[in-house]
Amino acid sequence: MNGKPTSADLAGYANEYTAWKLLKEVSGRIIESKQLVVNPFLIEMSDDGRFVLKPSEAQEAGFDAPEVKDGGRFEASAVWSLGATIFYIVMGRQVMNGKGGIGQSETSKLPYMRSEWPALSELVQQCLQFIPDRRPALKNVYDVAAKQYNRCVNDIKRGPKLKSVSSMSNSTANNQQDMAFWPEAMQNIH
């Protein structure tokens, strides 16, 4: 019998909508439960499509913040883990060459995921700051995620992108394509 999939099973294939949904629901859960251990293997997908953070202390080093190795784990550490989780499900690999916080120093370059998702990529970058005080507060992460998730929901309601306009269009908005197709000047045959 198969077990339930976790968000780790999305590795490399999460779209923007899924990433914001996970971020919103899991950060909200952390605020409620105060659970500070977060990694993609602890986030299950319920039958009604929600992301649920399993209560657990099972750690994954690749998703632990830098300060955890020195015994500290607080809200900012959970923010770091959230950032690392999103990075993993979107990019399909762990941050800091798979080493997580252990592999990070103050001068480490912060990874940027995808230029087509700037808000998500910037938030994840901030979450992965080496110094805990520089990371956004958990409440801020939740607020941003909730807003962006709603935007994605509205975008999805509008439906996928339409096929590009080509020879089947009569639209006068297709000027550039028409001009390129028909550059010649004309004169009458008297």
């Binding site: 198969n2 590795a11 294939y13 000027n175 028409d178 197709f181 009458n188 008297h190």
Partner: protein, 457 residues
């Protein structure tokens, strides 16, 4: 050596697969969707862009395979055994995978044997012996008859076809032009002058006399739009009248006399001797003036309004208005061979799809005096015919051919299948490029007829 792998079996026929076809795979991510990069491609009959719908990948715990839904849109829903999946589903033996808007279903099965050896994604096409035998018999039968069919189908336009068409091609002459004032039911001639403009016209099998609009409205022959510094002294008389007519009608709208330009034309058979077939007026022709551009030039003291076939940006349907047609009673007496067949929307679509481009143009290039044979010249369409959503050619037809003045209004012929059709009416030449011409697609007539039907009470 046995190994664990899975198969995906196509449960239905579609345009890309047959019922019973299979894909075998083990370790490779397998993309299912509408894009060219997908390992399993499904149709995309929707209006939406192609998308990757799902990926099957090995589970990280090595305990089987998972199906990942890649697009969040409802239109790209993925179902396993009828239940939509949100993100990821661990696949079980016998699972049936389906996609929104698709008939096709895939059956997922897990195997452990020595049949899968390569390690890559393997396609297996079903082959049942009776089906193959029947297919070969059909192919053989069709092949023999196909050779015979092909020879007739692909033969280019024959001399016989051209000779048949020639008997329906005539010269059209503008003998005089008048400026008329029309008020209630009274018509007065304000001005008139003789003309000597010739072009070509042809009779169709539907008893229509077809020509280019500028052949019967020669005041449109000024190709450059009048500019602010244009003075009346530089314009031909009949062009000034045309300007005055439009200006009068725009400035004095409502309750006043309407001014109109009319040309009187002769339709001539030119062999064995020039012979008048019948006379027509330009106002009798059906013309679509909706593309006409009226633009204002000049100042308060010297106002000009110019009505023309100028291209308006964007140049979407440039010059498509340069066609005119007239139903002719007793047309059979003028073309004993039955006339030329106009290409319909459907035929035009086939021509565009088949990339058919060999053409023959018929016309009466200008000669000084006397009898004249219909001349023919051959060419090729220079651009694929592009269609609008309602199935009409979007632009004028672009082609070459050794054309000269007098060919205007002449038919552009093409052979499609076993039949030949007129697809265009010669309109204009390219200003800068030699041997480059443009014709109005004859489907404009079909479009105008549809418009007229809709306007009837």
């Amino acid at each position: 050596m046995t190994r664990k792998y899975y198969s995906l079996r196509f449960e239905r026929d579609d345009t890309l697969h047959r019922h019973g076809d299979q894909m075998l795979n083990a370790d490779n991510p397998l993309r299912i969707g509408q894009t060219a990069s997908c390992d399993i491609r499904v149709d995309n009959p929707s209006q939406f862009e192609d998308a990757i719908l799902a990926i099957i990948e090995k589970r990280s715990d090595d305990n089987g395979w998972k199906l990942i839904r890649t697009s969040p849109y409802k239109e790209h829903e993925v179902r396993v055994n009828g239940t939509p999946i949100d993100y990821v589903h661990f696949l079980n033996n016998g699972d049936r995978i389906a996609f929104e808007g698709q008939r096709q279903e895939l059956q997922f099965n897990i195997h452990e044997d020595d049949q899968y050896k390569t390690g890559g994604i393997v396609h297996i096409h079903t082959a049942r012996s009776t089906r193959i035998l029947l297919a070969w018999l059909i192919v053989l039968t069709l092949g023999i008859s196909g050779v015979v069919f092909y020879k007739g189908y692909t033969r280019p336009i024959t001399l016989q076809m051209v000779e048949q068409a020639k008997s329906s091609v005539f010269q059209i002459r503008v003998d005089s032009i008048q400026l008329l004032s029309i008020h209630d039911n009274d018509t007065f001639t304000l001005s008139s002058c003789p003309m000597n403009v010739t072009g070509t016209a042809f009779l169709t099998s539907d008893s229509l006399l077809v020509t280019a609009r500028h052949c019967i409205e020669p005041w449109l022959n000024i190709s450059d739009t009048i500019r602010l510094d244009t003075t009346s002294s530089t314009l031909p008389l009949y062009v000034k009248w045309a300007l005055q007519a439009v200006t009068n009608n725009v400035v004095n709208e409502g309750g006043h006399a309407r001014w109109e330009m009319v040309s009187y034309c002769s339709v001539m058979q030119m062999t064995p001797e020039p012979r008048l077939l019948f006379s027509v007026k330009s106002s009798q022709f059906i013309i679509d003036k909706s593309r006409d551009l009226i633009s204002e030039h000049g100042d308060f003291n010297h106002q000009y309004f110019w009505r023309s076939l100028s291209a308006r940006p964007p140049r979407v349907n440039m010059m498509l208005g340069d066609i005119a047609y007239l139903p002719i009673a007793s047309a059979a007496s003028y073309h004993p061979t039955g006339g030329i067949h106009l290409a319909s929307k459907k035929v035009m679509r086939k021509i565009a799809r088949d990339n058919n481009n060999q053409i023959v143009v018929l016309g009466f290039p200008k000669v000084e005096v006397g009898a004249q044979e219909v001349e023919r010249t051959e060419g090729v369409l220079k651009r694929t015919i592009r269609m609008t959503p309602d199935g009409y050619p979007k632009y004028v037809l672009s082609h070459n051919g050794n054309l000269s003045p007098g060919y205007s209004g002449g038919p552009v012929l093409i052979k499609q299948g076993f039949h030949w059709y007129v697809i265009g009416v010669i309109s204009v030449t390219d200003k800068y490029e030699k041997d480059h011409f443009y014709s109005v697609p004859v489907t404009e007539i079909e479009r105008m007829e549809e418009k007229l039907k809709r306007q009837k009470p």
